[in-house]
């Protein structure tokens, strides 16, 4: 190794050099797809965000208009691919986050990005430049949940698609996105709408939609619009929507679709109006009653061939006023026949602590094997073990009616009815060639949840998905757009929980379910 000569005489006193920007991540501005995910590349002409530190001023500064600048409030972003260096067009700058548009002329391949702020330049960070990598803008600005989409009623009436402004089959929607691909004009100028020549699909509830337009929006540099017609026979508050360009699939967002009226209905039976109030942070009164049969061991030595685990039959319930994260009713599932892919680490915001509701001192359960009670254990919470043994003794298939007698001070009297169906059994298979689940039993009118997860064996990327299908279908094959959105072949499991809705004075939502 060759060494430089001794540098005598260089006097180094305390002159801190710690002012340079630092880059932590370069992500699609809409999907926030993490490195290692199949859709983590940054498309030519797309908007992307850089996360880091020291990259801009303490307060956010936005570009004032067109053309977008390559230097904004002391910040500039340079991307080098091979021998080609381009300056990104800046949308906003902030100390920890910078948004910019990648010029369409940027070559594809491994790009090195550096941020300069007030004359100090960061170390270069590597990312992949691709031709197309769609990302759907979402209302939470984090790439998950409800999409940023508008229902087209007329040129002057295009409300945002929400749970209480649901779309209908055949209606045209405008979906906002980025990353469809490069354009021929300037990325810094206000874009001119132009249909891009792309092998693009919009999948709504796993059904391909008729696409009317795919290209830049007329308003915003790097931002795309896709106009499509909502397919028939897809309804719900969380209808998955994804854009596929060639074999690259966007993040999965959702739209609300109603058979009629403006308000969607969630698969759980919760109305879109209630969901919207919850999502806005309201505390709602909810009840969740569960009947369970679990084959489980309470001690370490149980569970072997000579000592099979006993069946433990229990009933439990909660009556709470709470925000959405504490609601035990599973909401937000996709409609039957479709799937939602979620990146790892997505968690909901905590909204308020649950407050117990008085629904009376006891819940009466009347079933094929007689009457039992679920007793109040602590304010708002009820539980009771019905039986334990080598066979199911109480919660056998049949119809169960649960009531709370005269009710309590917060929740009035109710009667909830649930039918426990014949035993549900399922099988799953998953490989790089595909993933499929099949089942027998259950209530044909109910639905099965198919869950899966995938962790890349070669990167740290992790993603999961959830699908639903009607019990009567008997099987479900995970759609290709889901598999394309995962970093590896998934593991698969099924979950079947018959549910029914009930109503009572003082309750916004009541749900009873059976789990086995």
């Amino acid at each position: 190794m060759k060494f430089l000569p001794k540098l005598a005489g260089i006097c180094l006193i305390a002159t801190p050099g710690w002012a340079a920007p630092q880059i932590a991540a370069v992500l699609n501005a809409a999907s926030y797809a993490r490195p290692g995910m199949p859709n983590s590349g940054i498309a030519q002409g797309s908007m992307f965000v850089i996360f880091g530190a020291g990259m801009g001023p303490a307060s956010l500064v936005q570009a004032g208009g067109f053309p977008l600048p390559t230097a904004l409030s002391g910040t500039s972003v340079r991307v080098t691919v091979g021998a080609t260096a381009v300056d990104a067009f800046l949308v906003y700058t902030y100390a920890s986050q910078v948004a910019a548009v990648l010029p369409s002329v940027t070559p594809t391949g491994i790009g090195l990005l550096s941020v300069t702020y007030n004359g100090h330049t960061s170390e270069a960070g590597a990312f992949r430049v691709v031709r197309s990598s769609p990302g759907i803008l979402t209302q939470n600005q984090a790439g998950t949940g409800p999409a940023l989409a508008q229902n087209f009623n007329s040129e002057s009436d295009q409300p945002r698609n929400t749970l209480t402004h649901a779309a209908h089959a055949g209606q045209v929607l405008t979906l906002w996105a980025t990353g469809l691909g490069p354009i021929s004009g300037s990325d810094a100028a206000q874009p001119v709408p132009e249909d891009l020549s792309l092998n693009l699909q919009v999948l709504v509830g796993s059904k391909p939609a008729k696409v009317r337009y795919k290209g830049r929006s007329g308003c915003c540099a790097g931002i795309d619009q896709v106009q499509f017609e909502v397919p028939a026979n897809v309804e719900g508050c969380s209808v998955p929507i994804a854009i596929r360009v060639d074999d690259t699939v966007s993040n999965f967002a959702t739209i609300a679709v109603a058979a009629s009226g403006d308000v969607c209905a969630d698969l759980s039976g919760v109305s879109g109006a209630d969901l919207e109030r919850w999502q806005a942070g309201a505390n709602l009164a909810s009840a969740a009653i569960g009947l369970h049969v679990a084959q489980d061991c309470e001690d370490y030595f149980c569970g072997g061939p000579d000592s099979p685990a006993p069946y433990i039959e229990t009933g439990e319930a909660s009556f709470l006023r709470s925000g959405l994260p504490f609601v035990r009713t599973q909401v937000g599932l996709p409609p039957p026949g479709s799937c939602i892919v979620s990146p790892a680490g997505v968690v909901g915001a905590l909204i308020g602590a649950p407050q117990p509701l008085d629904a009376g001192g006891v819940l009466n359960v009347t079933g094929p094997k007689g009457v039992r009670q679920i007793v109040l254990q602590s304010p708002g919470y009820y539980s009771q073990q019905f039986a334990q043994g080598s066979a199911v003794q109480y919660l056998v298939p049949g119809t169960y009616v649960i009531d709370n007698g005269a009710g309590g001070t917060d929740v009035g009297p109710f009667q909830a009815t649930l039918t426990v169906p014949p035993v549900f059994t399922s099988t799953v298979e998953s490989s790089s060639a595909g993933a499929r689940a099949a089942w027998t039993g259950g209530d044909p009118e109910g639905y099965v949840t198919i869950q899966g997860g995938a962790a890349s064996p070669t990167t740290s990327a992790v993603a999961s998905f959830v699908c639903t299908e009607r019990v009567s279908a008997g099987q479900f094959t995970v759609p290709p757009e889901v598999l394309l959105g995962l970093p590896a072949a998934p593991s698969l499991s099924t979950f079947y929980q018959p549910t029914a809705i009930f109503h009572a004075r003082g309750l916004d939502i009541g749900q009873i379910s059976f789990g086995q």
Partner: protein, 468 residues
């Protein structure tokens, strides 16, 4: 002021490789560690030593900068984009490379590829800073590699005098460095972006320069001036991450005579063989004695007992007639195994699985609380002998007790169970880095006692980790 910035000797870079034996099969990675500290902490731009089998067909060293991305037929790629790492040395058993600055992400895969194939990915965790301090023995232990203003190696640190130390893993620089290249030889020099603290003798030294050493790849130079010394330990802290601990002798004072002391590890020395410790962080409790004659003309001086887990400093000021002791002891929550408010993770070794190239996976205790049933009875006995703390240190499971008293020049000052008993203990928890051979890991931590700059006692405390 005279201060200098010089390159570091070649021996710093060329870490010893294993004997060349010729690659026969697909490469496999056993470990990838910081080349200076020999610990798992790595950062972008950090020098990394990769150990394993069949890592290269032969032994080869890079001859010049910038370093090649392929050496002796071997490549190392890092991150989901598989960025090729600069290589300085390859052999069948060891590779010395640099984590490319360009790699983004905090947990990334690393591969080694040769003509015989490509290894399985080995995941490493990258932080903005992962300081590793070079020592003379090139394993991160023992005397630190230090030079004076004339670039002569030094064994001793003198408060107020200039020292140059070398490290890796200090992260990004301004202006940015190029992976595989050396630091700039003239202004603008590559100063670090995340400011490091350099502790010499437990006290922060003044840092005059921290940045890439001129002409050296991945090696950072630290020009520092020690301020005060309470021990011989040297370490760096940057971005909340501490380096390995090396040593440099302190200058003995002229304030005491007949200094002597002893150290007794209450735990885990008594528990080092059976039963083994079952969890991390590991509790360390120590009693010590110190006795000295304070000379009539004495100025202020320090008595200090130091370990990886805690410190006791006793600041004696004969002129003022006082002494002040600050001692780390286990805080009240940690006495009950409750680490829920601590910055470190309590790991249940009974849950560990894996091994081999994939490393070991161990689960934390739920809620970061160690159940009482899992705390050794010997440890509980030892805990009862330690005074309760006055206050918890933020972000630490340790607490402190403050002791003040009077002292007189020309007299004997003693710390033991009979005299100044509260000062005679120190304790705390330290987290055991997860080595590849968990469980059954054995290690030692060193406890040292200094009196007025003199090493009065030193004890290696063994510990062992394993299943029931």
């Amino acid at each position: 002021m005279t201060c200098f910035l010089w390159p570091v000797p070649a021996r710093l870079i060329l870490l010893a490789g294993l004997a060349a034996s010729g690659a026969r099969g697909q490469p496999s990675i056993a470990a990838a560690i910081n080349s200076a500290s020999f610990e798992p902490a790595l950062s972008h731009g950090c020098l990394v030593s990769i150990f394993g089998a069949n890592l290269a067909g032969s032994t080869a060293s890079a001859g010049s900068l910038p370093l090649p991305r392929k050496l002796g037929g071997t490549t190392v790629t890092v991150g989901d984009l598989q960025i090729e790492a600069p290589l300085s040395f390859v052999s069948p058993g060891q590779i010395n490379a640099q984590i490319p600055f360009e790699v983004l992400g905090d947990r990334v895969p690393l591969w080694v590829a040769t003509a015989a194939g490509k290894s399985q990915p080995y995941f490493v965790t990258l932080a903005a800073s992962a300081p590793g301090l070079f020592s003379r023995s090139s394993d991160g232990k023992g005397p630190v590699l230090a030079f004076n203003q004339n670039f002569q190696p030094v064994d001793q640190a003198v408060p107020g005098s200039f020292l140059t130390l070398y490290a890796t893993g200090l992260g990004a620089t301004d202006p940015p460095a190029q992976s595989g290249s050396g630091g700039a030889g003239a202004e603008p020099l590559n100063r670090v972006v995340v400011p490091p603290e350099v502790f010499i003798g437990e006290y922060p030294a003044r840092v005059d320069f921290a940045g890439l050493a001129p002409g050296l790849n991945g090696v950072y130079q630290l020009n520092v001036v020690p301020q005060r010394m309470g021990s011989d330990r040297v370490f760096i802290r940057a971005g909340g991450v501490s380096s390995n601990i090396a040593s440099i002798a302190s200058v003995p004072g002229n304030n005491v005579g007949n200094a002597s002391g002893s150290i007794q590890a209450l735990y885990p020395a008594a528990d080092a063989t059976s039963p083994p410790v079952m969890y991390s962080p590991l509790l360390l409790l120590v009693k010590f004695t110190a006795r000295m004659d304070i000379l009539p003309s004495a100025g202020s001086f320090l008595i200090s007992a130091v370990t990886d887990a805690g410190t006791t400093f006793i600041d004696v000021d004969p002129a003022a007639g006082t002494f002040t002791g600050t001692i780390t002891v286990p805080s009240t929550p940690s006495r009950f195994g409750d680490f829920s408010g601590a910055g470190l993770m309590a790991v249940d070794f009974a849950t560990c699985n894996g091994g081999g190239t994939g490393g070991v996976t161990c689960l934390p205790f739920p809620g970061n609380i160690i159940p009482a049933s899992r705390i050794s009875p010997l440890e509980l006995d030892a805990l009862r002998s330690v005074p309760a703390p006055d206050a918890a240190i933020p972000n630490s499971p340790n607490g402190t007790i403050q002791v003040r008293g009077s002292v007189r020049a020309g007299s004997t000052f003693a710390i033991d169970d009979q005299n100044n008993a509260p000062l005679a203990v120190l304790g705390g928890y330290f987290s055991i880095p997860a080595p590849s051979n968990f469980p059954g890991y054995t290690g030692t931590t060193t406890v040292k006692l200094f009196i007025d700059g003199r090493l009065a006692a030193s004890t290696d405390v063994p510990y062992r980790v394993g299943f029931f």
